[in-house]
Symmetry: C2
Subunit: 326 residues, 2 copies
């Protein structure tokens, strides 16, 4: 009998999570009941936002249960099926990450096209959330100056590239180190980027002002961006790295400027915009096929290394998308 390893959340961290908040649990794989399938996970998405679900923050997305496997985006291959419509060998996307094998109702597993991307891991790309935020929420327009924080991250890196492809005239970013800032300009093709620990501020890289700010950090980073916005600028709130990494809990203190400049701030999640998915798949897929967009990926091997990698990610260790190969 093959065993299944699962990563469980054992206690709710306050501030930065520690390895002791998690446990690697080994159990038998249950046999699928009628209507269920067994999927061997090939890749799982490592996301800073996972941190948010470790606490009960009263958000619409429920917190992880304690003593149970965490969840998250994964891509896997059906190995056993007791459901019509899914057969062994099918490649599927699903939310049952943080385990070797996922056993659940067939409806949880969405078949994906093996030929859509060079690697199955690419199905975990953060393009949809970047696209929804930049195209639907910010409504980026030709000529806009766009600023993206956490621009070396999976979402931010794509958000900036999408802005450029949609006609933004200047795309600038901030990142967590000088090396990451170089990655943002050198690999991802942003016009300029800076280390957010330096004295540089968005206003310095966008002297004509910022029309669209794609916020992945919150806190003082949001405050600096508000300071650089042009009148009627649009800010999309996508993430809160400062909070996610257990840092400050500070709100932007310059809301007077939000009034004076008539800014719009909108929080969003990708799953509120299901109608965008087909348009995204077509447009984004073409950009990837034509080499117009860089899908940069870091692969971490071993489910047993998942928690270490997640904590390292919260500390800013990686660039691009981070996936775990169990």
């Amino acid at each position: 009998m093959t065993l299944n390893r699962e990563v469980h959340l054992m206690s709710r961290p306050s501030g930065r999570p520690v390895p002791e908040d998690f446990a690697l649990v080994t159990r038998p794989i249950p046999s699928p009941e009628p209507g269920q399938v067994v999927v061997r996970n090939l890749f799982m998405s490592l996301d800073p936002g996972t941190r948010l679900r470790m606490e009960d923050l009263g958000l619409p997305i429920p917190a992880f249960a304690l003593g149970r496997p965490m969840t998250g985006d994964a891509i896997g291959e059906v190995v056993e099926s007791a459901a019509p419509g899914l057969r062994p060998g099918d490649l599927v996307r699903h939310p049952h990450a943080w385990r070797d094998y996922a056993v659940a109702e067939a409806a949880d597993f969405r078949p994906v096209d093996r030929d859509a991307y060079p690697s199955p891991s690419h199905h975990l790309n953060s393009g949809l959330i970047a696209y929804v935020g930049m195209v639907e929420i910010a409504a980026v327009r030709p000529g806009d100056t766009v600023y993206v924080s956490s621009a070396a991250g999976a979402v931010g890196g794509l958000a900036g590239q999408i802005a450029r492809l949609k006609g933004a005239s200047r795309v600038v970013g901030s990142a967590g180190s000088p090396a990451k800032a170089e990655f943002v300009t050198g690999v991802l093709g942003f016009d300029a980027a800076y280390d957010r620990h330096s004295a540089t501020r968005p206003r310095d890289l966008a002297p004509g002002g910022v029309d669209v700010y794609f916020d992945n950090v919150g806190g003082s980073g949001l405050e600096d961006a508000i300071d650089a916005m042009n009148p009627h600028g649009r800010i999309v709130l996508c993430g809160a790295m400062e909070r996610q990494s257990g840092g400050g809990d500070q709100g932007p203190r310059n809301l007077l400027a939000v009034i004076g400049k008539r800014l719009t701030l909108r929080g969003f999640t990708a799953f509120d915009h299901p109608g965008v998915a087909p348009r995204f798949a077509e447009e984004f897929g073409a950009w990837v096929r034509n080499g117009e967009i860089v899908l940069h990926e870091t692969v971490v091997d071993g489910l047993e290394n998942g928690v270490t990698a997640l904590l390292a990610q919260l500390d800013g260790a990686y660039v691009g998308k981070v996936v775990l190969r169990p």
Copy 2:
């Protein structure tokens, strides 16, 4: 020769302004040059937002110059005209408040209808900004639950009444004292209101959640409102009493909830929406004529009392619109 009294800003306050930041200066009234008119001010609007213009906050609306009269909404009567189109006796609205007589180019003065309201002071009502915020920015809809802070104030009181007239099913407010909260329900007809210094919070008065929040306070009040919002709720940022009265400088720390609930926050000013003015004039005028809306007013007499009244207003001394009769 008649003399003109002017209230000048003499120094930039940090925190709460003090009487020594201002001076009452007496000067001759200049004769109008060709194209200019002389207007005797009948009423001037006292607005907490005046505080913002005493500092150079880098906002699009410039700060007051030091050693010069402050400006602000006023209503007056033409007493001398060297311009075609304006004649002595005409009632005009204009931005040259804080002085007995205004002398400026005719283009600064907009004739208003003497019969539109029972008193000329009513032309200074805050209806347009309340209407733009509630109808244009928040897009209040029938069935919405609406929460308004500073609901006993000139803008907040009208914003809540407009929401009700536009079909909101529940309208609640907060105000700066128990007596003001009683005014908000008893006189303005809100469904419920609370003293913001009490332990009550918006969530308590709107157990089904808030769809639209009209923010006049910023800071911790905004944080409490975010906590009470329903998913996809709309927040309009109109004022920042906490900051204006020299209080805290704190931003809302719960921006994660803005993301999780997919909220929209929009700062606005009324003058960005000139196209709304005719529709506002028609609809709001009818509400006033039909007695469907309460225009509550406090009149302070004497230009020499203007600064004292403004400081008292920042301390929360008044309910409704406050006007100064020089």
